[in-house]
């Protein structure tokens, strides 16, 4: 135990003095979410403001039909009607973003409306996310125009407008807000935690294995009268701690980002704060612990095999994909926790975190997840211990 603590303490001091490790372990996960939120919200707000306040350029090809609709459009102070265009020209301008919309009124529109049939109007627009507001603004006029026609029809037919509502359907979703938010946001959170956990553990693992070999400091350790497995455990402890710190710091970063954001509605904010409670965080960290041990074993084994820091980096980079893919599969709708998915490392943490946040985690599934992760953690530790004992690994050059 003395050796493990000695190696752990020394390696911790060593990596905490390495700027690169601090950057990936603490600074990046702490700042990423606040920066991401800030940039995301400010870009979204500025785009939305622009879409709301801009004067809309619209063409309306009606051939004298739907005169009232054309007049309604013209009466709007925020719409400029562009005239003198053919249908093809106007469509091309919409496609080129020079026109915000094109209305083409069917030649028989007035006749159809007079006969109480639907009159056709084609609405051309180019849809991207920020243009939804523009479409909504133009649809307002169409909706008003349609309401006027309908009101006239109800008066003419002496009918109550409510007659068109045959079924008064009232939705009652019994899922709590926590469950709904948990299932949606909860899918994204573990993805981020797992990635940070991996990235946070990656640099210390490379530094304590390949880095030590490359710097030529390994002999100091190998000539000490201590068990090599204890040396490995000391190093392991630092790599695992780094991964967990990184994941925890990312949670703190996310919490700060949410609390500092004025864009999130208060009721939604309350739910998120409730979700990110200590109990949930501790439960998620208890899943991340064996996962990090598992990852640390793989990372250290690769790191000991590599001849240099750079070689270790190039060997570990493909492993990123092996982490990202199962974590991302957990985001796919329909992929749910089961006995099978509970056995798959990374994916099981991703799904379990989602269920924990939603408050719907089944204890039997949770037990399988723990069993799977702890078994893999021990296997990974065993393999890296064997690897660390091999002469051909340690003295590979």
């Amino acid at each position: 135990m003395r050796t493990i603590v000695t190696v752990f303490r020394k390696e911790l001091i060593d990596i905490l003095r390495d700027r690169r490790t601090i950057m990936f372990m603490i600074v990046l996960p702490l700042l990423l979410f606040p920066l991401l939120f800030r940039v995301m919200f400010s870009v979204e707000r500025s785009q939305a403001d622009k879409a709301r306040s801009k004067k809309l350029r619209v063409a309306c090809l009606s051939d004298g039909n739907a005169a009232r609709f054309v007049a309604m459009l013209g009466d709007r102070g925020d719409v400029e009607i562009v005239t003198g265009l053919s249908r093809d020209q106007a469509t091309a301008l919409v496609r080129a973003d020079s026109l915000d919309g094109l209305f083409v009124v069917a030649p028989d529109f007035d006749d159809a409306v007079a006969e109480m049939k639907p009159g056709r109007i084609d609405f051309y627009f180019k849809s991207t996310d920020d243009r939804t507001i523009v479409q909504d603004r133009l649809r307002e006029t169409i909706d008003s125009f349609e309401r006027e026609i309908l009101d006239e029809r109800f008066v003419r037919l002496e009918m109550d407008p409510s007659i068109v509502d045959a079924v008064a359907l009232e939705d009652h979703n019994v899922a709590s807000m926590e469950e709904r938010v948990g299932k949606s946001v909860g899918g994204m959170l573990p993805y981020m935690f797992i990635i940070f956990c991996f990235v946070g553990a990656m640099y210390p693992a490379i530094d304590l294995g390949a880095g030590e070999k490359e710097r030529g400091t390994m002999e100091t350790l190998l000539t000490a009268p201590v068990n090599r497995f204890h040396i490995l455990l000391g190093k392991f402890g630092v790599v695992v701690l780094s991964g967990l710190v990184s994941a925890t710091v990312s949670i703190i970063g996310l919490y700060i980002a949410i609390r500092a954001s004025s864009e999130i509605p208060p009721e939604f904010m309350n739910i998120i704060v409730k979700i990110l409670g200590w109990k949930t965080i501790l439960l998620v960290l208890s899943l991340l612990l064996p996962l990090t041990v598992f990852l640390a074993g793989i990372l250290l084994s690769i790191s000991f095999t590599a001849r240099s820091f750079r070689e270790a980096q190039s060997l570990i980079t493909p492993l990123n994909i092996a982490i990202i893919v199962p974590a991302a599969i957990g985001l796919i709708p329909g992929v749910e926790m089961s006995y099978a998915t509970a056995l798959v490392p990374v994916l099981n943490v991703s799904l379990a975190t989602r269920e924990i946040i939603a408050g719907t985690m089944r204890p039997d599934y949770l037990a399988v997840v723990y069993l799977s992760l702890i078994t893999l953690a021990f296997v990974s530790l065993f393999v890296s211990a064997q690897w660390f004992r091999r002469e051909s690994t340690i003295f590979r050059s």
Binding site: R2, T3, T6, V7, K10, I13, D14, R17, D18, R215, G216, T217, E219, T220, L221, L222, T223, A224, P225, V226, N227, E391, S392, I394, F395
Partner: protein
């Protein structure tokens, strides 16, 4: 005392290594050490001499328990390197020219770390550290990070960490190889002091001037095989060439290995 008895070390080659050996090479392995036998006595300096690739580092790594002999036995202070590796390492101070230091630690922190790994009690550590730091004049830079130190200062830190647990046996592998004359002097002084204190000293080198300066006993190896084993006096009395270098080359050529 170090006792090396009929030791072999064979390395299996990877495909890439076999390619690097050239088309003339046959087989799947190389014998880095082939049947070495010698003894290093306490209070004497034993030089292991050979060209690059002769098998010196492999031999010293086996003595320091970093590598296991393929055949044969090695004992340090009567402890077998395979059966009792931790006891061997406890009595051993190992210093090489290629071993680097932890740049992000201070000199004091590094020496303390090595002392902790060797289980040196706190009171003994403080006394030993003060003694060694004083003897090597390290007070001025003991609390500076090693990465900021000069080569000479680093060498002193290396010596301090090698001696902090007061080892009975010193193994030095090309310890002066990358050092200038002034920095090498610290190593030469270390070897002399250790011998005067009754410690066993084994050092490998390809600098024959150091052999002349320090050796009581000598082993000459080439391609893993022993070409000479005896006292320095015996070696010099049997010399047929005018200089050590010439005699070394003559023996290698005569052996035809």
């Amino acid at each position: 005392m170090i006792e090396v008895r009929d030791v072999f070390k064979t390395f299996k080659l990877s495909r890439q290594q076999k390619r690097e050996m050239g088309s003339g090479f046959q087989g799947d392995s190389v014998d880095a050490v082939a049947g070495l036998t010698f003894t290093c006595q306490p209070g004497r300096v034993f030089s292991l001499v050979g060209a690059n690739g002769a098998g010196k580092t492999t031999t010293l790594r086996m003595i320091a328990t970093m590598l296991r002999p393929t055949a044969g036995t090695i004992a340090v202070n009567h402890h077998d390197t395979v059966r009792e590796p931790e006891r061997v390492r406890a009595s051993l101070g190992f210093l090489t020219g290629s071993t680097q230091l932890y740049d992000r630690l201070t000199a004091s922190e590094l020496v303390r770390y090595v002392a902790d790994l060797h289980g040196v009690p706190r009171d003994q550590f403080a006394r030993r550290r003060d003694e060694i730091f004083g003897a090597l004049d390290m007070g001025g830079f003991a609390d500076r990070r090693i990465g900021k130190l000069s080569t000479g200062m680093k060498q002193k830190v290396s010596i301090a960490r090698t001696l902090i647990h007061d080892p009975g046996v010193l193994v030095l592998d090309e310890a002066t190889a990358a050092l200038d004359v002034v920095a090498s002097r610290a190593i030469v002084d270390l070897i002399r002091r250790a011998r005067d204190n009754g410690k066993t000293v084994l050092f490998s080198t390809h600098r024959l001037s150091e052999v002349n300066l320090l050796s009581d006993d000598l082993a000459l190896i080439h391609r893993g095989q022993l070409l000479f084993n005896g006292t320095y006096q015996e070696f010099s009395s049997q010399m047929q060439a005018p200089t050590l270098e010439d005699e070394f080359i003559r023996r290698v050529e005569a052996a035809g290995v």
